[in-house]
Subunit: 747 residues, 2 copies
């Protein structure tokens, strides 16, 4: 009771008086006890930190050992402490009813007890309370969008006992398990969803993407293995092959009867696919294609399924009649029924990796391996029986890019699985921050919750906002992809490249922050971050190196930009910019650039205008720079090279603009007013935090002035503290099954 | 020869004519051959991408298989290709001396061959040439500073065959190996260096720090195990114990006869050390201390050596005569001679972690464990035979902070080992970027070196500059630490906290960049990044969570700032700032804030003034904000809480200012003019890149204007390209033995 009375560091006159009087009424106290207690209720002599800490330990000791039902009152706690402390002494005064009564009277009369202190003595059983401020299920439905059914099905599937985390130390055991898991999924019909109905599928890439994303909540090795088999290997047959290949292979691929590889990357050539050196040479005499690795560095590398695969889609320069027709894909059997390598095939394990050790990546070399002509995936190029090469696309460049374009689905899916990992990490870090306390106002108050620290809010809340932003942005991309056609495919490729890079860099960044936010606990394997981080770390490289992809994005934008005025020339460019930038320019009047009004800052119109302005201005300025360089005699290649950092910024600005627009649309579309309000907060935070990150650029461009920049910073902090209140709801709405989340720290 | 002739995409008239004439002279050509070749030497019909790629593959195929001696000329290469291609055909025309002669004539006459293309056909054996522009050994000597001898000794020790990388999958096997390695080091007398001479040591923390740092090039688990045993456990005895403890234990600790733990952190209290709940209660009757864990969450956690340890320094609330004297350290035996746990001790393995799996971290609980009174490490608090507590420092707060202050050595050392990991990563990434080529100007030129991409330069060169900056900054800190005294210790604690945080965050960031810069290869275990990243990842948390430490830094600065004018009040503050900021203010005249002259930007005076201005202004503004809040009635605690992000920026600005000053001094001190020039480039890049990172702040403060900000960006790019030329020298100067570097990618 003294602990509680002193917890506000003040013993008020009435408290002191009360205690002094009651001291005499407590029948069980010895003279020595009375003396000691008297020294403790001298208002001018508060207990020091060490004494208080001592009391706390004693109380904590008892209350931790008592069960929930025991935790009734200070009196109960005190009597229990007395019983425990006196075990070795005589007497049983603490069982005396008089003692209890005297103490209870005292407790009742001590009415200035701080409720916070009281609660900290009787902690609720672990587990955070829902805030109840928004309807979590309704928010989950918004996130699940058109694919709620398959997502809910996956939530059930992944809760099955066969999907159990296990710390595999040997890659072989891990890979075997992942293969078994993959078979379970195939048995559930989940591998075949994207294939044509004629092959037993549902012709639905949307469902495939949702399954892939949901696997990202569980084991990323399984996601990738699943993606390699059904997405890359199966997808190559689906998109580069023709009906004969579909009928012959897809059902078996979708059921995992034929495990296969997507053998594109070589040691010497990864990003530069046109530079591949493996050859597939047509031999007119035998009617076979001879697949060959011309030298060691031309071997295929990092190939998933290399050890389990029975077949591979091999990308090679197709040489017909001594003429190279460029990169084509050929199906090459790797192993026989007994899983022995076929003649001419050499496979080497890539060994242990930073993560994804459940995926069997390896190197493959071909030594004059013959396959029948029919194994050429011939949608975009074929060899007739006379040994003539034919193609529906005459221009080799166009043919190459059209072929690659059909494979863009991987880039649409990869960032989704990465974002699932981020969601797991955020859920763990934010729930932990709602329980963990450290340091405090003074030694007498309960310690402060991690999430009540502004630096902790500033660390986690913008990540939460960006996760929501990316979720809606990726849904936007997926829908565009599902509705793709010949006209839109280039734009989708550009956007997919950009979103993939932006989102996977964010995954790496956000998981690092979440791990640090969980301190030492975050470092233990049992709390998931080790695998979450290491498994997704390569996402910034595979399916296209992010830096390379971002350059593609910028080039795509410049091409679109230039095409639009091919004939009109500079005047056209200026007219176009005049049109696009006019709104932005209006924003740049002296009043606007100084406007620090929170309503203005939280106005979507301002936010979108700011993002568009950045994209447009970067597009215009880099295009001018390139033009000037080329005009001055710099080779086009060198001009682009010199502008590389500028191009990367343009790409980023483009992706961010698409995301803020998609997010703003989503907020508008939302009906539930409580959810709408929270989504608006998140959208504001994403917008303002992003502007703040680029504030150097905006200040340099005189788009905002100092005072506005400072106001944005304040608004970001305010938004963080507002979103904090909903943060449990917001992570629970991801609806990751507790078992799949699987972090010890939360149990 | 056609490949080379066409490599510039132009077949000049004389080349074409020459080839057309010579065609007739080549005796071995069939009519069909002549026809085909004719089509290939039509200047208006250059070979297309596919044909060229085909040639390249054929050539590459042969040249890769031939030995270095074979690579003599195009003729040799061509003849070899002919021999290889014709294996299955008849004839041996390619051995005909006439053929060779005709071809040699042709090669000699084709004098427009591009030298670059030629070189790419005959690649030098792998391994980069030294630039030879600076004296690497002299630069190494500068980095090694006063501790070159011990560093060179470590370079030899770590090259010994017992120090071999092995991919331990089981933590037990790994820990055993690390323990064995630790013994080898102890046997070399490397564990005892910092202890008093009376105990067999050399009383030299500088040597200890150098050893610890050098171990960071090899296996980080070994560094940390070494640090736990000799630095933390031994250090606690050395700094918190008295002579009796030194004589009794230190030699055995230094020889690893007593493996021990540093049991400070608890599950419930990590950062908040004063909140520890383990108790050490003095029992007057027995004269023993009873060490006890009051409840589960008060168990010691993450304790290194928990499984191998025979003894632990346990930090506990010391309770004497019913009174808590605050946190003290007590030596507690954990295991007997047979390595069985002693009664009352419970130890649990922390299990697998993200990294450092060679270190046996665990949890320890004490159940009423008795140890003799003498086991109290009694330098700062003792119990006499009458059971009275005595201490040379009466104030418990002051006592606590003085005790902790003696342990600051860990924070001085940890960032050094982290920086070693960064140096390894940078060496690998930069050397790889000097060999790896991808994409190119056009399909006929050799592909572009990664390091010739501006984005790659911009990714790696600032990291290299900052690594040098931190090296000199940490040397500055180490020297201050070695010369510490009662007056300077607080300032050193502040600086150590700041440098530890700043440097370890940099390690995490830089290794991520280096991994990505190596693409898929960086993800393979064999290339070191998996361990480098994962082992150092916890550096941002242990030895003090970085965010917590940065707040300490800011508070230290504010305290120093306020102390200085305790009596003078606000006027004093203003006078002080007037004094400190006056130079900075001079810098802010309209001419200066617009000055884009490269000489100005590379002037140390400008750089240092900019860094100082940022620190001073942040210190002043946060102090004003705090003052205003407190004046308005906000509790001091809440005021600090609200200013947390501001305080963190101040801390960063302080560290950066110290570093730029140390680096600038180092440049001044350097005698060798070539090295001095390169160090100046690095110092400029660190300075300008850092200002660019903060450009939003500087623009907001109107310290620079837009045009200056843009000029700084241009200067950063230019510096990157200039430093690129020396980058091999700069990483080689770290002098990491090749075997210790151990990256497959470089072999």
């Amino acid at each position: 009771m003294l602990y509680v009375a002193w917890a506000d560091q003040v013993l008020s006159p009435s408290e002191a008086k009360l205690l002094q009087i009651k001291l005499k009424d407590l029948p069980f106290l010895s003279a020595g006890d009375r003396e000691l207690l008297k020294s403790w209720i001298n208002p001018s002599n508060p207990p020091d930190r060490e004494l208080f800490q001592h009391w706390r330990i004693l109380i904590h000791n008892r209350s931790a050992e008592s069960t929930a039902e025991d935790r009734k009152s200070l009196v109960d706690l005190g009597l229990e402490m007395a019983r425990a402390a006196a075990l070795r002494e005589d007497g049983a005064w603490w069982t005396n009813p008089e003692t209890r009564q005297a103490l209870e009277t005292l407790e009742n009369e001590l009415d200035t007890i701080q409720i916070k202190t009281y609660q900290s003595l009787f902690p609720k059983p672990l587990g955070e309370e829902p805030s109840g401020k928004i309807n979590r299920a309704a928010l989950t439905a918004i996130l699940d969008d058109d694919y709620a059914d398959i997502r809910n099905r996956m939530r059930v599937v992944l809760t099955d006992p066969v999907f159990e985390y296990q710390n595999f130390r040997s890659k072989e055991a891990y890979r075997d398990q992942v293969l078994r898991w993959c078979r379970y999924l195939a048995d559930q019909g989940l591998g075949i969803l994207s294939y044509p109905e004629a092959d037993g599928g549902e012709n639905d890439m949307g469902q495939y993407a949702a399954v892939f994303e949901m696997l990202g909540y569980f084991d990323l090795s399984l996601s990738i293995k699943f993606g390699v088999q059904f997405g890359l290997f199966g997808g190559s047959i689906q998109w580069l092959g023709t009906e004969k290949h579909h009928r012959k292979y897809l059902e078996d691929v979708g059921k995992l009867n034929i495990p296969g590889c997507f053998a594109m990357t070589e040691t010497g050539h990864g990003s530069n696919v046109r530079g591949l050196e493996t050859t597939a040479t047509y031999d007119q005499e035998s009617g076979n294609l001879i697949v060959h690795t011309p030298h060691h560095e031309a071997g295929k590398e990092y190939i998933g399924n290399a050890l389990h695969g029975r077949m591979a889609t091999v990308f090679a320069q197709l040489i017909v009649g001594g003429e190279n027709q460029g990169v084509h894909a050929v199906l090459v059997p790797l192993r026989d029924e007994n899983h022995h390598l076929l003649p001419g095939i050499k496979v080497e394990d890539n060994g242990y990796k930073m993560g994804l050790n459940g995926v069997d990546n390896g190197r493959i070399w071909f030594d004059q391996v013959s396959v029948p002509r029919e194994n050429l995936l011939n949608r975009f190029g074929d060899i007739d029986s006379d040994g003539n090469y034919t193609s529906p696309i005459k221009n080799p460049s166009k043919r190459f890019f059209t072929m690659l374009g059909t494979l863009v689905g991987g880039r649409v899916c990869v960032p989704r699985a990465g974002l699932s990992a981020t969601k797991s990490g955020l859920t763990i870090a934010i729930r932990y921050a709602h329980r963990r306390r450290q340091f405090g106002q003074d030694f007498t108050s309960p310690e402060t919750l991690l999430l009540d620290y502004p630096s902790h809010q500033l660390r986690l809340m913008p990540l939460l906002a960006k996760t929501y932003a990316l979720d809606f942005g990726l849904t936007f991309l997926t829908k565009k992809y599902l509705a793709r056609n010949a006209e839109s495919i280039r734009e989708i490729e550009t956007l997919a490249a950009g979103m993939k890079s932006y989102a996977t860099w964010f995954t790496t960044h956000s998981l690092q922050q979440c791990r640090e936010a969980c301190g030492g606990k975050g470092y233990l394997w049992e709390n998931r971050f080790a695998d979450l981080k290491n498994d997704t770390e390569i996402f910034t490289t595979f399916e296209g190196d992010n830096t390379v992809l971002m350059q593609l994005v910028a080039k795509g934008l410049l091409t679109a930009f230039q095409n639009e005025f091919h004939e009109e020339g500079t005047m056209g460019v200026l007219r176009y910019l005049g049109r696009r930038v006019s709104t932005s320019l209006a924003e740049r009047n002296p009043l606007t650039i100084r406007n620090t009004d929170p309503e203005h800052l939280r106005d979507s119109a301002f936010q979108i205008a700011a993002f568009r302005y950045r994209e447009d201005r970067l597009l215009y300025s880099v295009s001018q720079r390139l033009r000037a360089k080329i005009k001055a005699g710099t080779k086009s290649y060198d001009a682009y090279l010199e502008c590389q950092p500028h191009l990367l910024k343009l790409a980023e600005a483009h992706v961010e603009r698409v995301i803020i627009e998609a997010f703003t649309q989503e907020v508008k579309r939302t009906a539930d007013p409580a959810i709408k309000a929270v989504l608006k907060l998140l959208c504001d935070l994403y917008a303002l935090h992003t502007i703040e990150l680029h504030k150097g650029w905006y200040l340099e461009a005189n788009y905002i002035e100092s005072n506005k920049s400072k106001a944005i910073r304040r608004e970001v902090m305010l938004l963080c503290s507002q979103i904090k209140e909903y943060s449990l709801d917001l992570v629970e709405a991801f609806a990751i099954p507790e078992k799949v989340l699987g972090a010890e720290i939360l149990t």
